[in-house]
């Protein structure tokens, strides 16, 4: 039996809007259709359904929501494992799982209603997770230890926040603002998952602490102001989570969708290449760079639509930004619009590649692109000489090379004959 009240009619309105948008072939129509379904339970959760809330229905919504959350997480894990088994990356599923678990933990903390404690716990938890992640990802390498120390420092700020909450919240706010303006994050460009996440977490923790009051821990704290603060904080938290998801997930496919849309609109055939701009030309009129709009082979290399290509003065493929992970000369190279440059020698031999998976190349276990690269930038590209000999890589596993023992994460360099150039220091 469907309860016909204002919420029901509002949901119907949302649903009809979604249907109209779907008929007009707008993809975000799904948001309205799903929003119509989730309107009532969402209003119940935030205690905004007023007298229209039936406690048993609220309990059913809560329990079914928990089951649905578990189902989504298990499905995401399964799909991620399937991707990995196929030798593909599963970054989107990691982000989905991380966002889901973080949102659940965060809302659970906020519902306790002790904002200062929530802010402190956020700082400590993120610090500890960062420290563990640094060790898990980089081991005891300098980069891994650095990230671990950074995480422990962040966690120690959390412990300090228990004594000086507002001072630490002010410090976090200043650091976040410096990062936002220093790295121009206000332009909503992906500056690295770690940086975006760190800024959002710092802002969230600071806001949570600032929203707390001195009477918070007393049994007779102001009830109505507490619930309104809770609503504000949850709304801000979920907005930040959605913002993070947009920056990290949406922006990665944004360029490709823009390119795909433009294919159906207008493209130019220039010097045998179907492409869209911005176009750059050499003084002699030869094409220097563009974005190809369909699968094409340049300098003997098949490239997918959306790849940004740069050509030499002679029209030879120099480097490119792959739109998606692409197999290049037997190596799965990472693609992400303007994130990872794949380079070529003049003879067409692969020169620089960001591996999308760990790979044994000429007997050397070479590491794929790792999280550390997104934090520190550069360093993990695999390079080749013009004769195809491996020039540089970061080891994905420990091994002995020319009687020297190397550990996972160590860089190794070879000359064009395959002889190691620099030994372990």
């Amino acid at each position: 039996m469907i309860k016909r009240d204002r919420i029901f009619y509002a949901a119907c309105g949302l649903f009809m809007v979604g249907i109209v948008l779907a008929l007009m072939e707008y993809e975000f129509a799904l948001l309205f259709i799903v929003g119509a379904y989730l309107l009532r339970p969402t209003l119940h959760v935030f205690d905004l359904a007023g007298k229209k809330a039936d406690e048993r229905q609220v309990q059913i919504h809560s329990r079914s929501g928990n089951v649905a959350f578990i189902a989504v997480i298990i499905t995401a894990i399964g799909l991620a494992l399937l991707r990995i088994a196929n030798g593909e990356t599963a970054e989107e599923f990691y982000a989905l799982i991380g966002i889901g678990i973080a949102a659940r933990a965060l809302v659970g903390l906020l519902m306790i209603g002790e904002f200062r404690r929530t802010g402190v716990l956020i700082i400590i938890a993120v610090g500890v997770v960062t420290a563990l992640f640094g060790l898990a990802s980089g081991g005891f390498s300098p980069a891994g230890l650095f990230v671990c120390l950074l995480g422990l420092l962040f966690a120690s700020l959390g412990f300090a926040a228990r004594r000086f909450p507002r001072a630490i919240a002010a410090v976090l706010t200043v650091i976040a603002l410096v990062m936002i303006f220093g790295f121009k994050l206000y332009q909503f460009r992906p500056a690295g998952s770690a940086m975006t996440f760190a800024v959002l977490v710092m802002l969230l923790a600071a806001i949570s602490i600032f929203l707390s009051s001195r009477s918070e821990d007393s049994a007779t704290g102001a009830g109505s102001s507490k619930s309104s603060r809770a609503i504000v904080l949850v709304a801000i938290s979920l907005s930040l989570i959605v913002l993070f998801a947009y920056i990290e997930i949406g922006s990665k496919s944004g360029d490709y969708k823009q390119t795909a849309n433009q294919v159906s609109q207008e493209y130019t055939e220039i010097q045998g290449i179907a492409a869209i701009g911005p176009f750059e030309y050499y003084p002699n009129g030869k094409l220097e760079s563009c974005t190809i709009v369909r699968e094409d082979t340049l300098s003997g290399q098949p490239l997918s639509a959306g790849t940004v290509v740069h050509l030499t003065n002679d029209g030879v493929l120099d480097w490119c930004f792959l739109q998606q992970d692409t197999e290049i000369q037997g190596h799965l190279c990472r693609g992400e619009s303007h994130g990872f440059m794949t380079g070529f020698h003049p003879n067409g031999q692969l020169k620089t590649a960001w591996l999308a998976r760990d790979e044994v190349i000429q007997g050397i276990p070479c590491a794929k692109f790792r999280f550390m690269s997104s934090v520190f930038g550069g360093g993990d590209a695999t390079r080749f000489h013009e004769n195809g000999q491996l020039s540089f890589c970061t080891l994905s596993d420990g091994m002995t090379i020319e009687d020297q023992e190397f550990e996972k994460g160590d860089p190794v360099r070879f000359d064009e004959h395959g002889k190691m150039i620099v030994g372990k220091q």
Partner: protein, 69 residues
């Protein structure tokens, strides 16, 4: 937990499930679930039911032996 909700509902002018539901601002399905013993109401709802049926919470609801485990 055992409930005498149905009995008290009839004793108070043969109230229908819908009428009682409207009096305490819940759905009829909730009243049905309570009477069948499939749902334990909150303290607030239990007090409201007792007030509308002019009785006490202890008269409306009784703990059973397994509830003491």
């Amino acid at each position: 937990m055992k409930t005498n909700l149905r009995r008290f509902r009839f004793e108070r002018g043969e109230l229908s499930q819908q009428q009682l539901a409207d009096m305490v601002s819940v759905s009829r399905q909730t009243i049905v679930a309570i009477e069948k013993g499939n749902y334990s109401p909150s303290v607030k709802l239990a007090l409201l039911l007792a007030e509308k049926l002019e009785t006490t919470v202890e008269e409306l609801f009784e703990l059973e032996d397994e509830d003491h485990d």
